[in-house]
């Protein structure tokens, strides 16, 4: 890997991102609202008795963590990758002496830092007001970081291969909207996965979406025992390998097909 080039790109994108931070703070605000709505709804429902074994305080800490993890794993670059293929911006990136993937990765990392500057203070403030209850277990804390890291990679690469479909179809970004809906339903946003009824619960456990968002939160909150954590982590890694392979395959095939639009 060409490290100096990557570091230079990281610095530039970070400065570009910081320049228009109010814009990104607004985006982060918008992404925060849906989990916040369900935080309030479930904490109201659980105000006098536990729901599915979760108390009001546990719902609050679940959703506050979900807001953080959602922001850390959300890949806004997936939308821009497709755009640059459609409007021909990719041609410029291809001329550079580093793979375009570096640029995507650099803007992904820079973006995370800018979003966190907004989301972390807000979540801390909400935690002060709402009194979350958290009983983390030692294995949970150990497994949290690996599961979070894999969740981000999986969500990023899964969106990346969807975005690469722009080489073949001009409106492939509609699939990204579909992915967001599936994450909303199956990844623990509308309710913690354990509370989903029958068929939804089964599909949530098997499909990759829970492993992009809900799984790390469940790990930290102590909902899973060690065997469940290990088997889920393995499934997460399998989906990750699948997404990685598909991304590489589509990138190679797509590039051969790519004809620049515009100058």
């Amino acid at each position: 890997m060409n490290w100096p080039a990557f570091v230079a790109m990281l610095k530039t994108t970070w400065q570009i991102w910081l320049q228009s931070r109010s814009f990104f703070f607004l985006l982060a605000f918008g992404w925060m609202i849906p989990p916040l709505v369900y935080l309030f709804v479930w904490s109201t429902v659980a105000s006098d008795h536990t729901i599915g074994g979760m108390t009001q305080g546990e719902f609050i800490s679940y959703y506050l963590l979900l807001i953080l993890v959602n922001q850390l794993t959300y890949s806004q670059t997936n939308w821009t990758v497709g755009d640059s293929i459609r409007n021909g911006g990719l041609s410029l990136d291809l001329l550079r002496p580093v793979p375009p993937f570096y640029g995507t990765l650099a803007s992904e990392l820079a973006g995370k830092v800018v979003y966190m500057l907004f989301v972390v203070p807000v979540v801390l403030l909400l935690a002060l007001i709402l009194h979350p209850v958290l009983h983390p277990t030692l294995p949970g804390m150990l497994f949290f970081l690996p599961s979070l890291m894999l969740a981000w990679l999986l969500r990023f690469l899964w969106g990346y291969w969807l975005a690469l479909l722009a080489f073949w179809a001009t409106r492939a970004d509609a699939l990204l909207a579909l992915q967001d809906s599936l994450i909303f339903l199956l990844a623990g946003q509308v309710a913690p996965v354990a509370l989903l009824p029958g068929p939804l619960h089964t599909s949530a456990a098997l499909l990759p979406f829970r492993y992009m968002l809900g799984f790390p939160v469940e790990v930290l909150i102590g909902h899973l025992n060690t065997t469940e954590m290990i088997s889920s982590l393995l499934l997460q890694a399998c989906w990750l390998l699948f997404a990685l392979g598909l991304s590489m395959l589509l990138w190679r095939a797509g590039l051969r097909r790519y004809t620049a639009v515009g100058g």
Partner: protein, 263 residues
């Protein structure tokens, strides 16, 4: 009469623009279905755990969801696209093209509010009406004429409030170009998905009286299940008139602040 002819022309032009890409039809359909699916499944998950929350049963929350989809559809049909062309990303106020709009011999507010139509929002309008009808059937009451009348008044007030707030947020751009005020509202509007009563007291007050997004869906839904007091209905109608007059005046003041962005 003149304005009606003008609106018909605006609609005709918008149809020509939108149907240029036949794929847009299916994408409009997909997004309407996703909107309906996530909304319905979200309610099913919630009510698989409880029978009612703070007096809201599945059926009356379903009515509220119908109102929410309906309002979102009306917004997406013309208010959203028109105001977005004015103050959104690369909108007329940013680029200075608003000069040409102001030069036309027509009320600037009418121009700004009615010019662009997104007809695929009619799919959302249909699903909204469908959900509402289903909710009315499930509420199992012979729909009294009085309830229906109250509902229509409440819905009219809600649409007026929605328009007034969006106009107000848009006009703020004349003072601070470059900040996407309407995006803040987008976030808050999502909170209207659930009854105001489900939020903690302080937030409920904010959503009722300060930024009345909660009011928009809660009051029409209450009219349908017959729990709406006449006092609340009258005050929401009065609020709608006040906000409409206030936002119109504010927009006029904003217009005078507009100092063209072109070179």
């Amino acid at each position: 009469m003149y304005y009606l002819r003008l609106i018909a022309t605006f609609i005709r032009i918008s149809i020509q623009e939108e149907t240029a890409y036949s794929l847009n039809f299916f994408i409009g359909l997909l997004s309407a279905l996703l909107n309906l699916g996530t909304g319905l499944l979200g309610l099913l998950v919630l009510f698989s755990q409880v029978n009612s929350v703070r007096g809201w049963t599945f059926s009356s929350t379903l009515a509220l969801l119908g109102v929410y989809i309906l309002l979102g559809a009306l917004r997406g049909l013309f208010i959203g696209p028109s105001l977005n062309a004015l103050v959104g990303l690369d909108g007329e106020v940013w680029t200075g093209r608003f000069d040409f709009t102001l030069l036309r011999p027509l009320n600037a507010q009418v121009m700004a509010s009615l010019r662009h139509w997104r007809l695929f929002s009619l799919f959302d309008l249909l699903t909204g009406v469908g959900v509402l009808s289903l909710a009315i059937i499930r509420l199992q009451q012979a729909l009294e004429v009085l309830h229906l009348l109250k509902f229509l008044i409440a819905l009219g007030a809600a649409i007026t409030i929605l328009y007034a707030i969006l106009l107000f947020f848009s006009a703020l751009l004349f003072w601070s170009p470059g900040f996407l005020f309407t995006w803040i509202f987008d976030g808050l509007f999502q909170m209207a998905r659930y009854p105001v009563g489900l939020y903690p007291g302080w937030l409920g007050l904010v959503l009722t009286w300060i930024i009345p997004v909660g009011l928009m869906t809660t009051i029409p839904a209450q009219a349908l299940n017959g729990t709406l007091s006449s006092g609340l209905l009258v005050s929401s109608a009065v609020l709608a008139v006040l906000l409409f007059v206030g936002a119109t005046a504010f927009f006029q003041v904003g217009l005078r602040h507009y100092t063209s962005a072109s070179s």
